[in-house]
Symmetry: C2
Subunit: 440 residues, 2 copies
Amino acid sequence: MSSAAPRPTGEDDLWSVDEHLEDILSSVHPLEPIELQLLDAQGCVLVEDVTVPVSLPPFDNSSMDGYAVRVADVEGAGEEFPAVLEVVGDVAAGADDPVRVGPGQAARIMTGAPLPPGAEAVVPVEWTDGGLGEGPATGMRARSLAPEGAEGQVRVHRPVAARAHVRAEGSDVKAGDRALEAGTILGPPQIALLAAIGRGTVKVRPRPRVVVVSTGSELVQPGESLGGGRIYDSNSFALTAAARDAGAIAYRVGAVADDAETLRSTIEDQLIRADLLVTTGGVSVGAYDVVKEALADIGDEDVAGSGIEFRKLAMQPGKPQGFGAIGPDHTPLLALPGNPVSSYVSFELFVRPAIRALMGLTDLHRPRVRATLKADKALRSPKGRRQFLRGRYADGEVIPVGGAGSHLVAALAQADALIVVPEDLESVEPGTEVEVVVLG
Amino acid sequence: MSSAAPRPTGEDDLWSVDEHLEDILSSVHPLEPIELQLLDAQGCVLVEDVTVPVSLPPFDNSSMDGYAVRVADVEGAGEEFPAVLEVVGDVAAGADDPVRVGPGQAARIMTGAPLPPGAEAVVPVEWTDGGLGEGPATGMRARSLAPEGAEGQVRVHRPVAARAHVRAEGSDVKAGDRALEAGTILGPPQIALLAAIGRGTVKVRPRPRVVVVSTGSELVQPGESLGGGRIYDSNSFALTAAARDAGAIAYRVGAVADDAETLRSTIEDQLIRADLLVTTGGVSVGAYDVVKEALADIGDEDVAGSGIEFRKLAMQPGKPQGFGAIGPDHTPLLALPGNPVSSYVSFELFVRPAIRALMGLTDLHRPRVRATLKADKALRSPKGRRQFLRGRYADGEVIPVGGAGSHLVAALAQADALIVVPEDLESVEPGTEVEVVVLG
């Protein structure tokens, strides 16, 4: 990912894709950890080693619905000559102070209930008559309908070994064991374990709050009527969705008109809820490129790394890009180009890894695979630019969809991959092996 | 997935995993479509073919910042003998009524701005002196700082072909084209296209609302203190997280004590916000299995398919299961066993596909792969049961983690796969190829 070449300094020098990415990732640091409720921490990265406070299970308990017995009392029992035991009561799950099982006695016990004192094993209800004095039982009658099941006699048809159908205290995890390591991503099974050991909250890196601002006086909100010379704002919708997809809490700010002062105050207003700002449009060489105009001089000269730097990348689409930090907290800001395909590709290459870095993830990038180019004709690519064409990938083959034009949103919506054409190639023949970024 | 065998009818007959799943999927139907705001529809399935109402781009526009010119006026232009044109004004993006370009004239034009009447092509600003009367320009000065750029003269250093740097009306999509087909899942690129063609809302199947209720008098909320004989409630947390992961809007209802009336009224209260109900615990043969007690007789005898049916599956873990419909809207309810591993595995096999079916997705199941078993000793599995063991899968190999016990949450949290041991196998040797369900 890193490049040995020194960073370009002249205004017209191009930055490579890798240099720009490296600049971003060296400036964007994981967010400070916070203590979150378990379900709010889903998908987040744990920052503490979590130790088991109490063994699981916390006590010996039954793995079956049945009868807690002493082994000697059921030795040699069979269906013809069952062991007949006196039922001294029920032990339900959650029982705090269970009955004692003496010689010749049994306690009716439920799955998960503590093994009562005196008992050595559990006989499943299906190995008994269930206290009904008939053949083998298939289950117990509900306590509320048949309270007499907790007393009387039970016939046991099979012997059991000591500890049979008993889950030993600590057989899952022991107090003092490490439950989860710092760095673990919390999915449902990890949340299960944290809850099981009694953790109601957990220290994680929070999801970054990402504010997406599109710019352009030509932009109209979808659903409204389209005046002459205008187009619908799609970038703010697409990138808000993409930011969520990457794991962020995303806020869409509707299109801002091409006026530097309006844009500057909009961004200042948004800083309060932003861990990362993304703008689209206004970063090129035009006379109305307000993002550049509004943000080029916004940095604090006395603070290193403050301010937004605009640069040209050796990349297609996505040549003009801005990156830097803004506001009192030095909130990172990525200024993406305004063409829909350019902004989406730029998001995938630069914003998504930044979001994942803020989350504290180490696996920042989309998977890349090698695939055979399946096309009618050679792909053309400008020399000296790394080109990212849209494609469909399946079974080791990739088919280009649509052309290279950065306004081709319809083709983008059919794509599930980006075909990478390196800087030194101007043409790629069908049948050639190419690098593919697998999206989604 | 389907089985030719008739459904079991006797109380002790076992259902196969496939029969139970088939019963669920034949009863659970996609939710009724609703019109949602674009960003609320993210991840949902489109139910309408969407047609393009207005071509994209809606008008010929510039792909560069530069000058809109007439081709004849710049024919033969070079750096030594530039074509000198009169700048008649600016055409910014969003311009409604752009200036007319006559012979010998040019309009300064921005990317995305409509090609003005009279102009035939765009010359990029880098091919001109930018109106400064010096060498080739690198860009334009901001309009707000240098308004004189919209007038005066510009020297053009290179000729252009007709339509050069012009994006033609309809070159992305044409009015009447199909933008997206019914059945498309709306990710960021599809949302980009819908916004670009002006759709503010879209008709999709909504995300199902799933209510998760754990049951058991032994359950304590994580973070609280654990009394004797009690354990922490983990199922309601794990399954709420898993339901979200599957695409649902999930509501966790804290543990309900083992009392049939309380459970019945809790479930009745929750029906109003549920498209699917999931309970854990209380479905086995014990005397305190309240889910079974509360729900076994709840159906309306006059309505086919009403009521919850409890059954035993030829499966480990997860033998006892309940499924049916409840309440006036016949809301589907899955009653899962209470052991943490049993409930999680049951969720993966039965609830997740049901959630995805409610969403209208067609790809309901986790991917399955073949993998080589890497283990110290043979896996044991009870005859006649399909066993799902926890494992870690990578590079064509799967390693079992933890044992078969359905209380082993710690091992579950280390697993990323389920190893499937078919009903007819009692032992699987290391090195054997096994089927693996890849989780997450």
